[in-house]
């Protein structure tokens, strides 16, 4: 009456005991991990370009907060390897479920930069069409999106036309009940979904040690029958290899997967945060030195896949994107307050019709007043 669990089953679900790595911090290639196929060289060069563009975009966005052009901006700096890998591991038919911090992933996925920043600009809650981009709205209530991701993965499975879902979540987000429910549902439904935890060391001010006592967050998978892995999230090559493998495994019908990527949030939580209150500058400096972009550049140069010209071209593109963002976000936002009644329901209720009339009258009165 009592079941025996085979060690083999458990071992197949457990992650590696140290994060998978392909490239050392100084850019030197390490022994390739047996279990993973390395990404094609051309893809790595493309990833480099996107990382350069992403970083520039990110810096530009932070500058825009200082100018009052964005309401708030949570920077991806230092997490570019995770974010670019997220975008590149997916095909067009796949879905991405991002958080507020994943602007760079969205940019790499091809979304319009201004549509990405619409939320953070305070213009509207979501700037893009989720269905058109197969990209869910950037999610703020932590970990809630992970359950949606499972539902959508199950929907894709039901339609039988393929497609995999990648859900992004932070280390802090893994503490929420919803994350657990998502893993559990994914395990039971064998949904084609991959969870990528960007463990950047902090949830705002709270360090990982106060967040979890787990040996590593990836060890949560086994408790749900979800296979798992941990990876050096500042190693683009390794992260892309691991996430791609997880995605393709899900695509092949082998079920959900949990990846923990170890990385670091180099900037404060958002522009409004004061990180000096809770962490040492020496710690930040150490991680700045472990920069994923520099690491990839050294690796590619070392392998002769990248030279000054390629770097310059990427930087040029990055400047172009930044300039476009600056320009397009330079103007004042135009918004019709009456739009707030338009999308509450497909058809407004009688109550909303009345309230809209009240606001319309107020606006008209204000306009009259203003004209004089």
């Amino acid at each position: 009456m009592s079941s025996l669990t085979s060690r083999g089953t458990v071992d197949r679900l457990l992650p590696s005991f140290s994060p998978v790595r392909v490239v050392a911090e100084d850019g030197v290639p390490l022994a390739a991990p047996e279990a993973y196929e390395l990404p094609a060289d051309a893809l790595l060069v493309d990833a480099f370009r996107r990382m350069v563009v992403g970083r520039r975009f990110d810096a530009q966005a932070t500058v825009l907060t200082r100018q009052g052009r964005l309401a708030v901006y949570p920077s991806s700096r230092g997490q570019e390897a995770c974010q670019i890998a997220s975008a590149l591991a997916l095909r067009g038919e796949d879905w991405l479920f991002p958080t507020y911090r994943d602007s760079v992933a969205l940019l790499a996925r091809g979304l319009d930069p201004v549509e990405i920043l619409t939320l953070l600009r305070g213009e509207w809650h979501c700037g893009y069409d989720p269905a058109a981009w197969r990209t869910a709205p950037q999610c703020t209530p932590l970990a809630t999106q992970t359950v949606h991701a499972v539902g959508l993965a199950d929907a894709l499975r039901r339609r039988g036309r393929g497609g995999v879902v990648l859900a992004l979540v932070g280390d802090g987000g893994t503490s929420e009940g919803d994350f657990h429910e998502a893993l559990n549902f994914a395990g039971v439904l064998r949904a084609p979904v991959v969870f990528l935890v960007q463990n950047n060391g902090y949830a705002i001010s709270v360090p990982l040690a106060r967040q979890s006592a787990a040996p590593a967050l990836a060890f949560k998978g086994v408790g749900y029958g979800v296979a798992s892995e941990q990876v050096d999230g500042n190693d683009l090559v390794a992260t892309l290899a691991v996430v791609t493998a997880a995605v393709e495994r899900a695509r092949a019908g082998e079920g959900p997967f949990l990846v923990e990527a170890h990385t670091y949030r180099v900037e404060p939580h958002t522009n409004a945060d004061d990180a000096t209150r809770y962490r040492e500058e020496t710690e930040v400096a150490r991680w700045r030195a472990a920069d994923p972009l520099a690491r990839l550049e050294r690796y590619l140069r070392g392998r002769g896949l990248l030279a000054d010209g390629g770097v310059a071209a990427a930087e040029e593109e990055a400047e172009r994107v930044a300039g476009e963002v600056r320009e397009r976000l330079g103007g004042e936002m135009e918004a019709d307050p009456l739009e707030m009644f338009r999308h509450v329901f497909a058809e407004p209720t009688p109550q909303l019709v009345e309230q809209r009339a009240l606001l319309a009258a107020e606006l008209a009165a204000d306009a009259e007043g203003g004209e004089r």
Partner: protein, 341 residues
Amino acid sequence: MAAALNGALRDAMRDDGDVLVFGEDVGPLGGVFRITDGLTAEFGAERCFDTPLAEAGIVGLAVGLAMGGFRPVVEMQFDAFAYPAFEQIVSHVAKARNRTRGRMNLPLVIRIPFGGGIGGVEHHSDSSEAYYAHTPGLKVVTPATAEDAYWLLRDAVADPDPVVFMEPKRLYWARGELDRGARSAAPLGRAVVRRPGRDATVVAYGPAVPVALEAAREAAAEGVELEVVDLRSVVPLDDATVTASVRRTGRCVVVQEAQGFAGVGAEVAARVQERCFHSLAAPVLRVAGFDVPYPPPVVERAHLPGVGRVLDAVFRLQFDDEPDRTHEVSERAREVSRVAS
């Protein structure tokens, strides 16, 4: 009413292959109230299935499936057990359409058995409709008859927006004829006059409707003709029907089973006096559950607004502002209650 709900789910699933039913124990068991009885047998475990025991997960799964083009109908086992899903409901289900400027709608239904009167132990008799009604972006409906159970649920499943479908659990076993052939019920969003009357309007919904009707019968025996309005839909609220009735009768009592404070009855009372003030001969009175945690079975009858409490309010509709007086049980109501019991 249980059979009507079951029939509505069955017909909705037959008519639209994208309708999925899931939740706790809705599969082989057919739900603890048997509302999903036979659905797995008829439509297979792919379309009617048991989930792990996690309400946020259930609602979140529904969100994802709706994003993927399905029409999920989920069951919360009892309404206190929907609370774990509160964040998913308030922060996502209610807001998805608005968040995306109408590009992403979530046509899903959350079925919630609500209310007491079934001798249930703690947590099995809550009334939570006000939490949802207060949340912009959710439609909230509740049937009081078998016919409405069927048609409102069909409407809810077909609705382009998320609907919280509150099922008055003590009416599950109420008998009621239902002709599924021709639609007779009003559409979702419309209130109906269940009984016409000239002396006062009684507004009720869900489990309070039969109470209101019974009170009207007893009042009629006393020569007082009550008009009973069944809201059916709390959001959207059919102001027009309520207002027209009160302007005619000049008096209004609002009845709900839920605790009264900041409930749906407060909204109705506030609206009625806003819109009908000069037609009113007396304040709009409310009859509601007390503002206490739902009590244990042995005393639940005393908590539930019954015919006596409704009649008492009706017969107090003429009184002045003296607050103490409004809490006295009127002599007249006592007599009627005595006769009735």
